[in-house]
């Protein structure tokens, strides 16, 4: 008899605690819905903030990094003397590897017509080190710039590069506008 009583008392405590927890769980969920969205978030580099520090190559959880250089062709001057392609103080204006700024020779230079050259990034080789982007911004039009490439990025809950970026250039954005491309003045991304 005594035992039965303690048992039913215990069951009463447990079920009221359970009830309380269902309520609080529901409350937390309900509150969360007040500031929610059906969209996903992805990580984006603001190329206008990036200071080409090089951490994009070293801090991504992927190796090689999910950050790659992207070329905004419409901004490019198609210069023969490309500040993003050639090492400053290069001995000859040739495509020899020792004259290239890119450590992995990921930039392909192609003659278009006198005096213009096209520079194209080989994404498989690019490690996202930002050397070319820095050179291009220092001496050229700044058309070479870094982007988080979303077919590679595993969309970490917190991007390891965002935490390390000294310029605070990487932030969460809604997945419907994943890129902030340079020279893309059609989308709302171009001007900031």
């Amino acid at each position: 008899m005594e035992r039965k009583k303690t048992k039913s008392r215990r069951e009463f405590i447990i079920s009221s605690m359970r009830f309380g927890m269902v309520l609080s769980l529901g409350g937390v969920g309900g509150l969360a819905f007040r500031n929610s969205t059906k969209e996903q978030w992805v990580w984006q580099i603001d190329p206008f903030k990036c200071s080409w520090c090089g951490r994009c190559a070293t801090h991504c959880v992927l190796n090689p990094s999910a950050v790659k250089c992207v070329h905004a062709y419409e901004l490019c001057g198609y210069c023969d003397l490309c500040g993003g392609y050639l090492i400053p103080g290069h001995s000859a204006r040739s495509t020899a590897a020792e004259n290239q700024l890119c450590p992995t020779a990921a930039i392909e230079r192609k003659f278009i017509e006198e005096p213009y050259y096209e520079y194209k990034i080989n994404e498989d080789l690019c490690i996202g080190c930002a050397k070319c982007a820095e050179g291009c911004s220092a001496f050229g039009n700044g058309s070479l710039h870094l982007q988080v490439m979303h077919h590679l990025c595993v969309n970490c809950n917190e991007c390891a590069i965002a935490r390390a970026c000294p310029s605070d250039a990487i932030s969460r954005v809604k997945a419907s506008g994943p890129y902030l491309m340079k020279g893309d003045f059609t989308s709302d991304g171009g001007e900031t």
Partner: protein, 424 residues
Amino acid sequence: MKHITIILPVLLLLAIAITDQSHAQQRFPAPEFESGYEYPEVAAPEPRTLALEYVDVMVLLGFMLLTSWLVIRKRSRQWILWLSVLALLYFGFWKGGCICAVGSLQNMALSFSDPSYAVSYTVIAFFMLPLAFSLAFGRVFCASACPLGVIQDLVVINPVRVPVWIQRSLGIFPFVYLALAVLYAATGTDFIICRYDPFVGIFRMGAEFHLVILGISFLLIGMFVARPYCRFVCPYGALLKVTSMFSKYHLSITPAQCIQCKLCSGSCPFGAIEKPTTGKLMDDMKGRSGKFLLYAALIPLLVLVGGLTLSSAHVFLAKAHPDVYLAHLLIEEPAIINDPDNLDVQTFLASDRTLEELVVSAGEIQATFRTGTRYAGAFIGLVAGLFLVSQYVVRRRTDYEPNRGDCYSCGRCIRYCPVQKQDA
């Protein structure tokens, strides 16, 4: 006067034009090609679509429904094992570990504190579903849906018994970790659960060196101390533990009536099986109700002490935020500005932020930390108090039963019970 109304907008436009110039830096005009050259397309590959994220929620739901059925009705360790391997492959190796329920609590915390971060529906689902299931069926999420738990479960080879008092005391740490993780997430500083996730590097087959070492050591330790991350670290496990304690239905070791054969008593690698209470123990406890009352009365004090202690460390804790860190560095070691190798300092100097702005921002962050640490410390004090009190509560048990808070519903013990299910 009229001139001003005209001049002002013109000046404004000019200013905008100038700032835009600095962005585009069009030093060289775009060429006018004569050869009919067309610009190549700039690749901008799409991220994973939203539909796939909903698939993940459905998969999670499916895994937990199936596990609940396996744990409570089918009672088959074999099936639970295979299901857990599937979960490891899908959520771990295929999805790369993100986003998981364990990390989602940080997104929830951030969305509560930062109005500009709206948490997505899928994240809410990942956070809520395992807890809801835990209230109903116990920690079925831990049994075979959490990739972090499953990878540890699979390496359990020769589990040693951890002394009860060590197990209980270390069991407080997940709550401390939970408090800190919420603090750091809500202040927008860092997602420490993700940053120190020991297994995500294994799922992605690559991570920073120290994380790989951490993951491998957890797995090595896990051969002997089963599920060390779950038992002594996992902050989401702390929430699941509390909800599971009050679960409506829960795995039971015996299918019918326990016959006290003791066969299952050593079968749980996680030390989650509790013995029936003997008369002697109950007598021991009788004299201790004074202690119970004493500790219960101490709880408010512990809450206060916890809050004060942690908030006295708020400056130190806030240094995890880059702004606070940099501000302290620049003030305490002004000579650092001459160090060309310190990237953070050099980038700051090159930016158009002034030291005053940085210090103001750092001060604001520290102030939020002061408030945040008070709550977090009070929470830790409360947990410590409840832990102390619980030492003096003994529930009368007549059978061998899993401890509902600690049991992962892995199903191992079921196989040890010789009692056959009676047909009604």
